[in-house]
Amino acid sequence: MTSLTFRPRVPVFDANVRVGDLPGQPAPCRERAALLAEMDRCGVERAVIYHALTEEVSPVEGNLLLEPWLGADGRLVPQWSILPTATSLAQVQGLHRQGRVTSVRLHDTRVAGLSFRPWAYDPLLAWLSARRIPIWIPLPGADADELVTTLQGHPDLVTVLVGAHYVHHLMVRPLLTRLPNAHLELSRYEPIGEIEALADEFGAHRLVYGSWYSQYAMGPLLFYLHHTDLSEEELALVCAGNLVRILGPAPSLRSGQALSAAYPEQSRRSEGRATS
């Protein structure tokens, strides 16, 4: 039953939150406490965060700016941005040695002339795959042919395709078909009935809630997910369980063990469904 107020009825772990300012767009939340307050208002327990500066300017410098947002409570999980340069890779490798890398986000270099081709990205992707580090790949600006060709060379690498919009509608199904370790982040994906359709065709274990806050509000997509045909188990997977599984156990997730513990059964079922 819909009402004029809404609170999620399952735990929520947001896979896509941007913190900090874009060069031309100050963020509404200026610091960690404000972001946590907004998460509390929307019923979001935890979030994977990356810094805005890493989108269009500098992954290396943006990653440094992420530090003040992190706390000891584990509610904000850092996502480090990366591009295939020696400096960027060394930065993320250093963080990995400290046990602080649970996922990375690909910096879009295509506009600068570096296609997402094996000759440019294989060393980076091989390093991630060998260490079971999942990578978030923004779909806007991506080339579907490059994605399939390059990622098929790394079949064990887990990916989350971020930011699909209705303009990407024709590429979503072929990508999920050709890339069995790919997941679809849902923040911008609104074609009518598509969340239910994709859950039926590929399984709810392939879908991940993300808000893309602060560009978008956190609540509307959560409201949508709670008013679909998804079962309670599937809803719990999409809202948090899949992300817990993708990130895997890691030192920085210790404070999230209660959330992880809420999903082992759903995760096992999801994996079974994936192979059926």
Partner: protein, 250 residues
């Protein structure tokens, strides 16, 4: 129905745009509406400049579930000789309740003379006109602000409320300056605080829930209203009460 409010989606479409997943199958549309408590949706077909072809498709769509869908008439100044006869047919024979215009499909900004016969028709009949508004030069919200005072018996609804921040400011200014200008909420942009801004600056009595369905799912767009930090009374106005008044629904 949501907490006693009949929910009316003021901005929907008939027609297929397959590459974007826009599929106007009534079962798919009604499933999404029913899942979230949306009672009725206003629909139009904007893909045919003659007006007649699209309006007939809209009429057939509405006729399948007349208690759930409300037809809006579409015409284009690209075929000026057809505009007024088609508007009369759509309103008088097809019983459409308002007019939808899509200026980006024409070379003319919406305040230029080719559009004037439509506004005169709406003014004479006391109809609402729903515009696509945005950053396109034909669709700037400030242009609605220029025409609204000349047609005081018509009501003008700015679809998407201008869409992006600069144009949203124009839309709010147009509503503040003209009592017959309303702001509709659907957009691919779901910026934090945008619904609250519209209400605080233009007034809840001037805001209309819309979704752009089936291009976008009406549930995520409804979520913008439900999760906004607004009093329940304001949400009731936005979700249905304002639309009922504007469309003179019983």
């Amino acid at each position: 129905m949501i907490d006693g409010v009949q929910v009316i989606d003021f901005h929907g479409h008939v027609g297929r745009w397959d590459r974007y997943g826009m599929i106007d199958e009534p079962t798919r549309v009604l499933h999404a509406m029913d899942a979230a408590g949306i009672d009725r949706a206003c629909v139009s077909n904007i893909f045919h400049p003659d007006g007649t072809t699209g309006n007939d498709l809209t009429a057939r769509f509405v006729a399948q579930h007349p208690e759930r869908f409300i037809g809006f008439a579409y015409v284009s100044p690209l075929m000026p000789e057809r505009m007024l006869p088609e508007l009369a047919r759509a309103v008088d024979s097809l019983c459409f309740a308002a007019i939808k215009l899509y200026p980006p499909y024409t070379p003319w900004p919406l305040n230029e003379p080719p559009w004037e016969p439509i506004y005169r028709f709406a003014n004479a009949r006391g109809l609402a006109v729903l515009f696509h508004t945005g950053s396109e030069p034909q669709s700037l919200p400030k242009l609605v602000g220029e025409i609204a005072s000349r047609y005081p018996r018509a009501n003008f609804v700015l679809g998407h409320s201008g869409n992006t921040p600069v144009e949203r400011g124009q839309a709010i200014a147009a509503a503040q300056a003209n009592p017959n200008v309303y702001l509709e909420t659907c957009s691919a942009f779901r910026s934090p605080g945008v619904i609250e801004q519209l209400v605080n600056e233009a007034g809840a009595e001037r805001i209309l829930y819309g979704s752009d369905q089936p291009l976008m799912d009406p549930r995520s767009q409804l979520g913008k209203i439900i999760t906004a930090q607004l009093p329940a009374a304001a949400k009731r106005q936005i979700l249905g009460e304002n639309a009922r008044r504007l469309l003179r629904l019983g």
